[in-house]
Amino acid sequence: MNAPATPPSPYSSAIGKSNAESHTLSVLVDNEPGVLARVVGLFSGRGFNIESLTVAEVTHETHLSRITIATSGTPEVVEQVRHQLERLVPVHSVTDLTLTVRAIERELAMVKVRGKGENRVEALRLAEAFRAKVIDATIESFIFELTGAPRKIDDFVELMRPVGLVEVSRTGIAAISRGPEPI
């Protein structure tokens, strides 16, 4: 008897990554020692992707931290990621911002550019168009500070490349839901 053709399991399709999508997860956790290691260890241990990760305490009285993780995978894998995170004892809640709410995502970047003459002028012009601030300058360099959606930062960095990009430092994504309701 031959096995009839059936659609591959979600697991095997995950390996192909053909329909991988990016999701931003907002994870509210107790700010206790080791909590970040638990979250990060879960991703590495189970082979999930982390594209960006930010963490900071958000309510000091109750010691809650928000971890914002950008991950990618098939919808099934992202659902697995969410359930696995929910299983961790210090995790209060996990929200897939990409699925559930219209979220605003912002990232801050500092971009160092080195150049002279026309390149320098061009860099400043582009910075103005992107509303990037100059936060440091020498005769031959600038550092720009830029806040925006991750895509906007990617675009800016690409434009800086031909005019003398030296390096970039980015914070990773912070995200929040629109409107009056909490996440």
Binding site: M1, E76, Q80, H83, Q84
Partner: protein, 590 residues
């Protein structure tokens, strides 16, 4: 009400408040204050193991045979690292453990102090949760929280790492029953709408099968009772994973035997051909599913599990129900009764017809011999001769484990203890010690392989110290039989390092440990020898010399589908040539 006491005293107090009567452990510098507190009382019994891995497996055996939490106490550094295999084993099989580890004093943490290791870092991924206690004020809460976390939701091991200065520090101890954890509150009640939907799907099924697992046993005896009820009410066939054996009585006619890699022909074929699969407390592990993309291709699947992350993890299901088995089954039984649901009787009769046809293949059968003891025969005789006893069975890992699962039958939950998820050789003897501590008057037998048993053989000394009459029934084939079988299957019969030279004389070894040794190699003597073992009031090592070349069938070779099982060839003496099966598919496949 709070009382002033030291951290070490709090540990003992909290264990007593949690109803712990036995703990398994091994002392060392970083836990001396706790051992001193144990010395000063006589309610808690401490069992001194001979290796910390043994403590963990003994705690597992205790937990699985009682449904309670297993507790172990080990020192820092090597004590903690030795316990890691047992903790991982408990994590994979969802066994509730609380493991207390000593740690170097707080001010030395991070200095590479003597016997310091990063216990929290090392055990983070092999525990359900772990705690490093930094302040004496936190200790009472953490101790009780650990029991809550270990037992609620999907059970698992929890580590509490206690620096030595915290054990000496004094603080206020409090205990309130039924503390609520601030974040961890697993869902136990299943969604009624979904259960209703499940009942509707069941009423429409024409070829249904129940596929159950260790979750039913973890859920408690009520879950087993309810499982029996729903299976009886529906008239559906039922199979179970290795971990779930005993939740449904093996003597019942609706029972198909275990499924999976070494499961029965009827169970695996029913899984493959069914149109509705009702999975209760199992997790679609690769040893169960075989080739994933050919797994039960035409069925709708319902999955009941307390762990939401188990649902849709390996196999996409049509209806997931998050909840505790007992709660969900209770609602299911009630809804099935009140809706007077009934699957099409004619379809069911036809389905049972198919199943009976598969059953007739008698897939656990083997060619017996009157010259040499066949391992399957030995297990069968062991089963028959202990049927009227109050028996608990543990196993090691290998062929003998599978033969035990196939040929020893369980009618009650919590009677069968085996390392399923991790497959840990060396599990069986310490687990038997744990089970025997919990059931001093029962017959506890470790069905063992000669290779596995040597992995934690030192625990015979523990058995001797506490006069535990555990019986070790070794199916001695002189091979790491399961490894040999795979080498035959995949590597042209090149038995690289799977034959054990220089095995000890197990009879003399038994005597060295103050136990009784029995050797048997003639099928004619087997029954009498087994009876001798049963009737011996002390620990026994039974060296049962069996056929060295026997293979374990049926078998779904990994990467194959349920309907591509290898079956034992009962027709000719040579047995089956499994080395060529993979190429000449048609020859052996059904």
């Amino acid at each position: 009400m709070s009382k002033q006491m030291t951290g070490a005293e709090m540990v003992v107090e909290a264990l007593k408040d949690q109803g712990v009567d036995v703990l398994f452990g091994y002392p060392g510098g970083a836990v001396l204050p706790i051992y001193d507190a144990i010395f000063h009382q006589n309610k808690l019994r401490h069992v001194l193991v001979r290796h910390e891995q043994g403590a963990a497996h003994a705690a597992e055996g205790y937990a699985r045979s009682t449904g309670k939490v297993g507790v172990l106490l080990v020192t820092s550094g090597p004590g903690a690292t030795n316990a890691v295999t047992g903790l991982t084993d408990a994590l994979l099989d969802s066994i509730p453990l609380v493991c207390i580890t000593g740690q170097v004093p707080t001010h030395l943490i991070g200095s590479d102090a003597f016997q310091e290791c990063d216990t929290i870092g090392i055990t983070r991924s092999c525990t359900k949760h772990n705690y490093l206690v930094r302040r004496i004020e936190d200790l009472p809460r953490i101790l009780h929280e650990a029991f809550y976390v270990a037992t609620s939701g999907r059970p698992g091991p929890v580590v509490i790492d206690i620096p030595k200065d915290i054990q000496f520090a004094t603080g206020a101890y409090t205990f309130q029953k039924n503390i609520q954890h601030k974040t961890y509150r697993p869902q136990v009640k299943g969604d009624l709408g979904r259960i209703k939907q499940a009942v509707e799907m069941m009423a429409k099924a024409r070829k249904p099968v129940f596929y159950t697992g260790g979750g039913v046993i973890n859920s408690g005896p009520t879950a087993s009772t309810l499982l029996r009820e729903i299976v009886r009410l529906t008239g559906f066939p039922i199979t179970s994973t290795l971990m779930g054996l005993g939740a449904y009585p093996a003597s019942d006619k609706q029972w198909l035997g275990m499924l999976g890699m070494h499961g029965s022909f009827e169970a695996n074929n029913a899984m493959h051909d069914c149109d509705l699969m009702i999975c209760v407390g199992a997790r679609f592990d690769d040893r169960i599913t075989g080739r994933l993309d050919a797994f039960s291709p035409h069925s709708k699947k319902i999955h009941i599990d307390i762990d939401a992350s188990s649902i849709n993890k390996n196999v996409k299901v049509d209806l997931g129900i998050v909840g505790d088995c007992a709660h969900v089954l209770e609602d299911m039984v009630r809804l099935w009764r009140t809706s007077a649901a009934k699957a099409d009787p004619a379809a069911l009769v036809k389905w049972w017809g198919h199943i009976d046809h598969w059953r007739a293949r008698n897939s656990f059968a083997f060619r017996n011999s009157n010259k040499i003891i066949k391992p399957q025969h030995a297990v069968r005789r062991l089963y028959e001769l202990t049927r009227d006893r109050d028996v608990y069975i543990t196993t090691e890992v290998g062929q003998h484990q599978m033969w035990a699962a196939q040929h020893f039958h369980f009618d009650e939950p919590n009677r069968w203890m085996t390392s399923g998820g991790l497959g840990t050789m060396g599990y069986g003897l310490p687990a038997a010690i744990g089970a025997q501590m919990a059931h001093p008057n029962s017959l506890v037998i470790d069905i063992a392989g000669e290779a596995s048993i040597l992995m934690n053989m030192q625990e015979m000394s523990t058995a001797a110290q506490y006069r535990l009459p555990v019986k070790i029934f070794i199916l001695n084939n002189q091979y790491m039989g399961m490894v040999r079988q795979w080498q035959e299957l995949l590597h042209g019969g090149r038995y690289s390092e799977s034959y054990t030279e220089s095995l000890p004389d197990f009879v003399k070894l038994a005597q060295a440990y103050g136990a009784h040794g029995i050797r048997c190699s003639d099928p004619a003597d087997l029954d009498a020898a087994i009876k001798e073992m049963i009737d011996t009031p002390q620990a026994v090592i039974f060296d049962c010399l069996v056929d060295q070349k026997e293979n374990c069938f049926p078998m779904i070779p990994s990467g194959k589908a349920h309907n591509e099982m290898l079956l034992a060839d009962l027709g000719d003496d040579a047995g089956i040539e499994i080395g060529s099966v993979i190429d000449e598919k048609g020859k052996m496949l059904v």
